[in-house]
Amino acid sequence: MVDMLVLDNVNKEYKGTVVVNDLSLNIKKGEVFALLGANGAGKTTTIKMILGLTKASSGKIEIDNAAKIGYSPETPYFPEYLTAMEVMNYYAGVEGDKSKKDKSYLQSLLDMTGLSDTKIKVKNYSKGMIQRLALAQALISDPDILILDEPTAGLDALGRKHNLELLKRLKEQGKTIIINSHILHDIEAVCDRGVIMKKGKVIDTWTKDESSESLEDKFVRLVGEE
């Protein structure tokens, strides 16, 4: 399989503190990859470096040339006076691709994430609905790589199930997905493999169905020792 994303000995320091330490990853096309770890493990910084939101102190990050990236943040903010369709229209405009501003296309993305009623303003949205909207806007460019920071956080059981199904569908479409999540059941449900990070370093890898130990047990064993 083709490498969509390669991180080669990537380091990130903030004022002398190493937050990502010598990180190397190969994420292949169509793979659903998990970044796991406790708070402060360096997962979000890794995502930020991949997205270009912060520069790596050293090392190389290579993304497949033609790849488009969609990103759904952990705590998204959308102007509360806008409706979901207006938010979608806004980000479609920011993309600069006129074809993506097509209303029926944007509506299809909202339908896909379970936000069919587009007349409700964001200020009346629950946290889960905002999370879904974040996912919808990440899909506008029809990305090859989808980076999702806690995509199921704040969702109720039904919402989580819906989102996980959506992720599976996106995987079937051949999209490469990188997920940062605390909810290990969700990771097990959709991810193919992942890394467990601690203090900026990869301390172990995880591959679905490869071990008899559940991800949760492994995680607690490795991360919960402190």
Binding site: G52, Y77, V94
Partner: protein, 251 residues
């Protein structure tokens, strides 16, 4: 374009814009109603031809304050809310992003200024001075220059400096710039090395008073000082360049 429009839309929804605009309307109304025995240069201040240069100064200053208030938090708030993540991750350069936000601030300030000048026009008509409406319209162009300087400098500073500091620095620039003539007069009384340093520092402050004076000259059919206008444009150009080149380390 979308980013700019979104800023305008958001600012128009903020109550602050309405409060400050209402304040401006009150100022125009107060000046336009009977001012009793107040005179300027021996002429009654109720004469709109006398009043206009004064009102231009007051309204430009007021609109400058509105421009400052509108601009100082726009960019920091984008980063605080992490809206910036969704823009940077779409490959939009910082220069383009910051400029789009700044233009949004600018257009909103202009909208506010135009409302103030329209109020001035309405009161002029009520008072029977419909003949000066054209002059008021031309004076509004100078208001746009004035607001652009404040808006763009504030936006440029706000990229890297915390909002409180940006606000403080810009309030000083606004007040010193609006009262630069008085400042020149005060510093002219000083002597010594310190005075030379202060005078040089004052030259760096945008000549906002000069812009209002040119608008006043225009409405009173006095000659304009092209240098003041060109320096104002240069100041806007510098601020624009800063908006495009000053960068954040992180989104």
């Amino acid at each position: 374009m979308e980013i700019t429009l979104n800023v305008i839309r958001e600012k128009i929804r903020k109550k602050m814009l309405y409060v400050t605009t209402a304040l401006g309307i009150i100022v125009v109304a107060v000046f336009s109603t009977d001012m009793g025995s107040l005179t300027v240069g021996g002429r009654s201040i109720n004469d709109y031809h006398v009043l206009l240069p004064i009102l231009i100064n007051v309204l430009n200053f007021l609109n400058g304050a509105i421009a400052l208030a509108i601009s100082c938090s726009t960019i920091p708030l984008e980063y605080e809310r992490r809206t910036s993540h969704l823009i940077w991750s779409r490959g939009i350069s910082q220069g383009r992003y910051h400029m789009s936000l700044t233009v949004g601030n600018l257009v909103t300030s202009w909208i506010s200024g135009i409302i103030l000048y329209m109020t001035l026009g309405v009161f002029a008509v009520i008072k029977g001075y419909a003949d000066i409406l054209g002059k008021i319209a031309v004076a509004a162009v100078f208001m746009m220059l004035y607001a652009a300087i404040i808006c763009m400098l504030t936006s440029a500073l706000s990229i890297r400096i915390p909002t409180l500091f940006t606000g403080t620095i810009m309030v000083i620039i606004l007040v010193f710039g609006a009262f630069r003539n008085a400042l020149n007069l005060l510093t002219a009384t000083l002597t010594g090395i310190g005075a030379v340093v202060i005078k040089r520092a004052i030259r760096l402050i945008p000549n906002l008073a000069g812009i209002s004076t040119q608008a006043g000259n225009l409405v009173q059919e006095k000659p304009l000082n092209a240098h003041v206008i060109i320096m104002a444009l240069l100041m806007i150009w510098i601020a624009g360049l800063l908006v495009m080149i000053v960068k954040r380390e992180e989104a």
